[in-house]
């Protein structure tokens, strides 16, 4: 199996992600819906970027694009030196698994698997051995503070705990980028701030962190905020 370079680069000035004139449109019947227009974004390794904007401004589409879940209609997207536009479905799957850690608003854990097994899922698709991935999953569970709940099912966990599992899962393959889509959106403020603390700690350890949020508080923590409006970048920089 093809293995991607898994060691994250900690040099903060090196761009890990470059988007040039990126456009995305959907065909809705006879109407062409322009969701993203001429997006130019560069994110360096180790950065903490918040993406903000009102509903329908294209935040989620941009996030999907960054996460290699979606193909752009035109433009260029380079992720750690590879042109994503040229990759086929299998390669995109591999990139997602190896380089990107997703944290979703609604946690998106697999209900029939317990904590450790959920954390193991991305490692399984990268071809790690059962023993190795189990060991690593346990370590990650301990790291997010769930060491004593590793055999619990998602339905037996609170929202905050579920989101911790999701973060542990996102870290499973040591990704280059952690993509968090409203990570605190479904949580009460207390567990929300706990989750945010974990994410910020990860950034401090050198991870690249991209958070989509409505929460201005998160945006103030971030080094940079990208504001989208109607598919265009309205603001891109430190506030």
């Amino acid at each position: 199996m093809q293995q991607f370079n898994k060691t994250p680069e900690f040099k903060t000035d090196k761009p890990i992600l470059v988007m040039k004139q990126l456009c995305k449109s959907y065909q809705l019947g006879t109407v062409q819906l322009q969701v993203l227009r001429n997006i130019d974004v560069t994110i360096n390794s180790g950065e903490y970027v918040a993406i903000m904007g009102p509903s329908g401004s294209g935040k989620s589409t941009l996030l999907n694009m960054i996460g290699c879940l979606d193909h752009p209609t035109s433009g260029q997207y380079w992720l750690s030196g590879r042109n994503v536009f040229e990759l086929n479905d299998d390669d995109l799957s591999l990139i997602r698994g190896a380089h990107i850690g997703f944290v979703f608003q609604s946690f998106n854990l697999i209900q029939q698997l317990n904590v450790v097994e959920n954390i193991e899922v991305p490692m399984y698709y990268q071809g790690l051995s059962e023993h190795e991935s189990a060991q690593r999953a346990r370590k990650l569970a301990v790291m997010v503070g769930l060491g004593d709940r590793i055999t619990h099912r998602p339905s037996e966990l609170s929202g905050g705990e579920q989101q911790r599992v999701a973060i542990a899962r996102a870290l499973a393959n040591e990704p280059l980028i952690i993509l968090a889509d409203e990570p605190t959106g479904n949580l009460d403020s207390e567990s929300g701030s706990e989750i945010l603390k974990i994410l910020v700690d990860l950034h401090k350890q050198g991870k690249t962190l991209i958070v989509v949020t409505h929460d201005e508080g998160i945006a103030t923590d971030a080094q940079r905020t990208i504001r989208l409006f109607d598919g265009r970048i309205k603001q891109n920089g430190e506030r």
């Binding site: 199996m1 999907n64 996460g67 879940l69 979606d70 479905d89 299998d90 799957s93 591999l94 997602r96 698994g97 190896a98 997703f102 979703f104 998106n108 854990l109 697999i110 209900q111 029939q112 698997l113 899922v121 991305p122 399984y124 698709y125 990268q126 071809g127 051995s129 059962e130 899962r169 393959n173």
Partner: protein, 434 residues
């Protein structure tokens, strides 16, 4: 690499199926019943035909059996009441077969009489067969003890007899049968040999109506007693008198009840049969004989078996098909129910192929588990059929392999489409799916 992934895939599949135990069980039951009906039906069909074939084979595939039958009433005597009714095969017929058809190797003329035999105070109803020393050549009987009849016995019309196992076990509880004297009708005969059992044509009646019952072969006879043909003619004569109520006595004269002809090879059986019939037709004015060809019966039995198997097999195959459609239905429902899980897995790095493997393996686990349980159930059904229904059944290995193979094919065929659908879902939309 592949094997450990396979193990984990199977583990994961079982886990997912275990989440919906009732659904999985109900889905599998379609396959279970399909597979077990395939096995049970093939076993019953195979048993019936094998039983018939064994019986036929014991008659000898190179043999042609000509039997005396009583001619129909209207053909008899042209209206005039005759005192004695004379019909059937004669010594002359046997002579002609032997002399005029070159490829006939052995001719065995037999007289058959239903008689009672006694030893001390034990009694048995048996078929007394007057035959010739070379009878074993056309028969599958094997000598267990002593000797068969000899030409000296024939020449001197000796009072000797050869018993088959059944007669021995009925007559002799404790004594050794050999060289004892048994009484048949009014005379005593010395037992000179013991043989295994002989198949008789009337056994075949259960299988095929074409095979006629030999005269005198009642169902009550437990076995055969062989005595020299000359002796039987001497002691019992050729005339039988049967008193039948008010209509008076029925007097019959029959020389031979059957002639068994053996030819050199199986290919010669059918042409020789035609020659024999031509020959018989010329010398017999009434249709008082019937030609039975075991080989023909065997072929017919094989044809019947084939049709039987096709009919039963297709019924069972349809039930498997129905089971397969049921599985496909459930898998499609499962796929749409687990859309979100598919989206999550795709986002976490699963390729389309991984999703196909996951869902296909779940279907395969269902069908193969159904196949195994079906084999267990299907193998036990014939056992009960034999036990309670007294029908012979034979489970062949090929039917087990066939049933299991079909269930695997059903799993792949009906699992492929749902798996393919799962793999081709758009990851973004699946993630949004509630």
């Amino acid at each position: 690499m592949f094997t450990f992934r396979l193990k984990r895939t199977v583990k994961l599949g079982i886990k997912s199926l275990w989440m919906h135990r009732l659904r999985s069980t109900l889905t599998t039951s379609g396959i279970i019943f399909g597979v077990s009906s395939v096995i049970a039906m093939l076993a019953i069909g195979e048993g019936a035909s094998q039983h018939a074939q064994e019986q036929i084979a014991r008659l000898g595939s190179c043999n042609i059996i000509i039997k005396t039958v009583e001619p129909p009433e209207e053909e008899q005597a042209g209206g005039r009441e005759r005192v004695m009714h004379e019909y059937g095969l004669t010594y002359a017929d046997a002579e002609r077969f032997h002399n005029s058809i070159p490829n006939v190797e052995v001719v065995v003329p037999n007289r058959l009489l239903a008689q009672r035999a006694w030893y001390r105070n034990r009694k048995v109803a048996a078929e007394v067969i007057g035959t010739v020393p070379w009878f074993p050549d056309v028969s599958t009987v094997r000598l267990i003890q002593g000797r068969f009849l000899s030409s000296i016995d024939m020449h001197y019309k000796q009072s000797v007899c050869v018993l088959d196992e059944n007669v021995v076990s009925e007559l002799f509880a404790f004594d050794d049968a050999l060289y004892q004297d048994i009484k048949i009708a009014t005379d005593y005969y010395r037992v000179v040999g013991i043989v295994t059992q002989q198949a008789i044509v009337s056994d075949l009646q259960t299988f095929d109506n074409q095979a006629p019952a030999a005269p005198g072969q009642g169902g009550a006879n437990v076995g055969n007693i062989y005595i020299p043909l000359t002796t039987i003619k001497d002691r019992f004569g050729e005339i039988s008198i049967e008193f039948s109520g008010s209509s008076g006595a029925k007097i019959e004269k029959v020389e031979l009840h059957e002639i068994i002809v053996k030819v050199g090879s199986i290919e010669e059986v059918l042409p020789t049969r035609d020659i024999l019939e031509t020959l018989l037709d010329r010398f017999h004015k009434q249709s008082d004989y019937q030609v039975v060809v075991p080989l023909e019966l065997l072929r017919q039995a094989e044809r019947t078996k084939m049709i039987f198997s096709i009919v039963l097999g297709s019924i069972a195959a349809i039930s498997l098909l129905v089971g397969g459609i049921g599985i496909m239905n459930i898998m499609l429902a499962t796929v749409s129910e687990r859309t979100r899980e598919i989206g999550i897995r795709r986002a976490l790095g699963a390729k389309k192929r991984d999703i196909i493997v996951q869902f296909l393996s779940e279907t395969l686990i269902l069908t193969l588990a159904g196949g195994i349980l079906g084999i267990i159930l299907g193998s036990s059904i014939p056992y009960f059929v034999t036990y309670f229904g007294h029908m012979p059944t034979v489970i062949t290995t090929s039917s087990l392999i066939l049933a299991f193979g079909i269930s695997a094919i059903v799993g792949i065929t009906f699992g492929l489409y749902p798996a393919y659908r799962a793999a081709n879902m758009d990851p973004i939309e699946s993630l949004r799916h509630e």
